[in-house]
Symmetry: C2
Subunit: 342 residues, 2 copies
């Protein structure tokens, strides 16, 4: 018998429900369209039949003629990094709460991938693309715009008209870090940073150094490796191995800070904050762990996301650059103030 089963007839369509409920197809559509006019009787019939048949509105088709896909692209590399994963968790949660659907695009690996990511986003008529790492080619950004897509760059500052650029005030945080170390009475101050740092991270370093120059203190800069725990281990080892061993280190990232603290403890037998003061950035989960108890800066994640969502849901948003203050989180990796304030 039916030897040629059409492989298409898989899905449950509105028409199937209509037939089953004995109503018109549009009544089905109206039942699932908020604010449409259907009598309670037919709505009830439709809902019942839909339940039985397992019908769900096909949002691909629906998006097609309403030209609103409801999809937002999240473009990120190194998703398994503590700070990044926390950001993605928050973002996806909030997007969902706002009725949006998140499409995750992993751009780890070759750099070309952020381009492919955006092309993919365009193909799916994503309403917006939130870029957590890497920056797109300007011409590609134009293609995004010409397809009615919004662009958000987090922690990245390029000259992108038409996009929202948002992130913490890294420079200010760098300054605060220096002041905190001075106030803790540190005499030999150092900075540990990755040699492959992003723009955002370099800003922290610049803020720190600028504040040091302003205060007239020398700062020892150790810059090497990637932005990782392992790099922190190496950076810490290099710093602590010196003749003039530093007693206060600002690490541009919590991961680096954890590495530095472990280097101090495991390789030199030094403890924070007694022998060494350490400050990080990001406030990752591990910063709270009892083995680190790291004084650090919390990214203003909530505020960033608030702004992000608000911007994405306005009709014709204008280009904007927003810097939000990072919150200084006092824990116990910095010596208690030995120098009075002011």
């Amino acid at each position: 018998m039916s030897e040629k089963v059409s492989s298409r007839k898989q899905q449950v369509r509105a028409e199937d429900v209509a037939r089953h409920a004995g109503v018109s197809r549009v009544s089905v559509s109206r039942t699932f369209t908020p604010g449409a006019s259907v009598s309670d009787a037919t709505r009830a019939k439709v809902l019942k039949s839909a339940e039985i048949l397992g019908y769900r509105v096909n949002r691909l088709a629906s998006s097609l003629n309403r030209s609103e896909s409801g999809i937002v692209a999240l473009v990120a590399a190194e998703i398994d990094t503590p700070h990044r994963s926390a950001m993605i968790a928050e973002l996806s949660d909030r997007l969902q709460a706002a009725g949006k659907v998140t499409m995750l695009i992993n751009t780890s690996g070759y750099e070309e991938r952020v381009k492919d990511a955006l092309l993919q986003a365009i193909s799916f008529r994503t309403e917006a693309a939130i870029i957590l790492s890497g920056a797109p080619d300007p011409s590609l950004a134009d293609t995004c715009f010409s397809n009615g897509m919004k662009l958000v760059l987090i922690n990245r500052e390029e000259d992108f008209p038409g996009s929202l650029q948002i992130g913490p005030d890294n420079r200010a945080a760098g300054k605060t870090a220096l002041k905190a170390l001075l106030r803790a009475g540190c005499k030999r101050i150092a900075l540990a940073n990755s040699a492959n740092a992003t723009w955002s991270i370099v800003e922290r370093q610049k803020g720190f150094i600028a504040a040091a120059e302003e205060a007239g203190v020398d700062v020892l800069c150790e810059v090497d490796g990637f932005t990782s725990y392992q790099a922190g281990l190496e950076l810490g080892t290099a710093l602590l191995d010196r003749e003039d061993r530093p007693d206060g280190i600002f690490c541009t990232t919590d991961l680096i800070a954890c590495g530095v603290i472990d280097a101090a403890r495991q390789r030199f037998g030094l403890r924070t904050p007694d022998d060494l003061s350490v400050i990080g950035f990001d406030n990752i989960q591990q910063a709270e762990w009892e083995g680190y108890d790291l004084t650090t800066f919390a990214q203003p994640t909530d505020l960033i996301i608030d702004k992000c969502l608000e911007w994405c849901t306005t009709e014709q948003p204008s280009s904007e650059t927003v810097k939000l203050p990072a919150k200084f989180v006092w824990r116990n990796s910095v010596q208690k103030a030995r120098v009075p304030m002011r």
Copy 2:
């Protein structure tokens, strides 16, 4: 003048490209359809015009009549957890490499959310849903199937015909853990587990206990809190505070293990592996950190994903349950063997 700007005319359509290139609309479609018949001349014209106009095939529309969306849903809670985020990173990467697009659905929070997640996945005619946490209502699973969707449950064992259930062999790992502690010469063996553990985690505990009974040794079970670092801290504190302080602890999760190790070090001045042997599970990044150097089990992530992708891309896959061996990763949180093997 044009006071009623149609807010729809945003996108660049195939027709625009066709007009610009002076060819038929279908030629545009064929240019972007692999294996379609177009002359090199027209293809070139089309590609050029598409480039200029910034045209990208609308995959929503394309999915509509090919009934292949290319989208795969990733359903997960607690995305910012080390193991989970690593899994998501790998999965999204591999899916992308396989030409699929990943839709991330965060189900943290109320339990009802996994239901909503699947409904959303159905709405977008997702080709498959990979569920990393929580299990769907069986009737809902049927709705998935009736819409031609595939279901994969990772680390979850329910009776779900029509789905792929895959994960590590947790029981076997539990047994291995016990043997390792015995071989290390531990005399008072304990187990630390969350009170809100998932099925998969409970299996590890069962395997451990079963092996202990078989070997005729007592094991002290401390079960409390959530599956987190903080719980580990509490569990470790409770265990090490006892009169008969254990000298070997199997933690059902690396996060718990890190908490236990920190409790030992920070609160009791005990060190691994000298004073205490600890084994974890998951092989998260922090397990490798020098402050923990944790002996643990690596989830067979690659194999799981291999199987996952293979299963999802076969035409009519049959229900299947797959257990893959977890790899024992020797580091330095367990005393070197004092008892000869065998």
